[in-house]
Subunit: 187 residues, 2 copies
DNA sequence: GCTATCAATTGCCAAATGACAAAAAAGCAA
DNA sequence: TTGCTTTTTTGTCATTTGGCAATTGATAGC
């Protein structure tokens, strides 16, 4: 819980009263490996701050093949923010890659915070645009690198994460086949 | 100017008074082909709504090679939103690919609007997260497609744009070499 | 019209990656 | 442990893409 607060404080100021208010709205939730935090076609009605575990945001093509858009892990928010905000169906799945624990804000709880805490929306605007810009740059950068460079960059940028996710999921994040990644890994 | 207003109205409500306020803060600006709207290392102090022309958001590697992250054209906002909001140096260039005209909001003008118009920040939060999510998904999708598919998808998704930008810039957007794109184009 | 310049096309070959299949390894439950 | 399932590794081969260089094409200035 302290980590959530210090994460939020990076993006704006909060007094003790506001912090207590935030803590009162956060509920601890456990999600087992393989289960979904939110699903395509459903409206995302909650936003989570991960305290333990790894999620992946992914989608499936008509052949049932799954593609990982990105991973999210400890001390970051995970949500389909557009679905959550506008109450429109989500286009993607958020799947627990490992057993996970998160602090969850319901739609109602989140709106209470928006109405009570001055600057709460601004904090989320900052977090949203900062995070999304980084994700976008990451994908865009990968596009002009070869597979080996992308893998090395991943190892460097997300130390330890490669050992926590299945090779096949990492491969689809990197935009290569599992076989190619296996060969690259052999170096 | 009407197009700017109707674009904004897609993301939130505005009354006549607010619309007049917005219009009073927008200044028409012309940027010749090849010039920059904002530059890496400088703080982006304005945000533009394009009425005519095409920009590209790009960066350069140490060898001076330029890479196009994405294109922005008529009836869309163009800005380095993180640099603009937090007044930190931009990491990228926004370059006019053709002669361009835009409606420009200065930092001061934009803040006046934030302070005067209830919901102005929300409108921009929506626009920002909607646009960035789409950019992110576009790059992420391209990563798992081959070059030919990416090109066809570009043609379909941005009809006419391929004829307005140099082949080399389009190639770097697609993550391939100019030679490869030339060959693909021959079909 | 001539020339300089830059962008685009094309040819050639090598390297990277994918497709498919089989084998090996790892995980998991009884 | 044993057997079953899933994931990962490995082999072979076809395809895609890049690198490089030469050629062609377009444009602008003289």
């Amino acid at each position: 819980m302290e980590e959530l607060i210090s994460y939020l404080l990076q993006f704006g100021n909060l007094n003790q009263e506001q912090i207590a208010m935030i803590q009162s709205k956060a509920k601890l939730k456990t999600i087992p490996k393989g289960a979904y935090f939110s699903q395509a076609g459903k409206i995302a009605d909650k936003i989570g701050y991960i305290t333990e575990g790894v999620f992946r945001v992914c989608y499936y093509d008509k052949a049932g093949e799954g593609y990982t858009r990105y991973f999210v892990y400890e001390n970051r928010f995970v949500a389909d923010i557009n679905s959550f905000r506008d109450e429109v169906p989500s286009a993607e799945y958020i799947e627990a890659v490992t057993d996970c624990k998160l602090l969850v804000f319901s739609k109602e709880g989140f709106e209470d915070l928006s109405n009570t805490i001055t600057g709460w929306s601004d904090i989320f605007l900052k977090i949203t645009s900062y995070v999304m810009e980084n994700k976008m740059k990451a994908s865009s950068n990968m596009l002009v690198q070869d597979a080996h460079t992308r893998y090395l960059h991943f190892l460097e940028h997300y130390p330890g994460l490669a050992n926590r996710v299945p090779l096949s999921m990492l491969a689809s994040y990197l935009g290569i086949t599992a076989s190619s990644l296996s060969r690259i890994r052999k170096k």
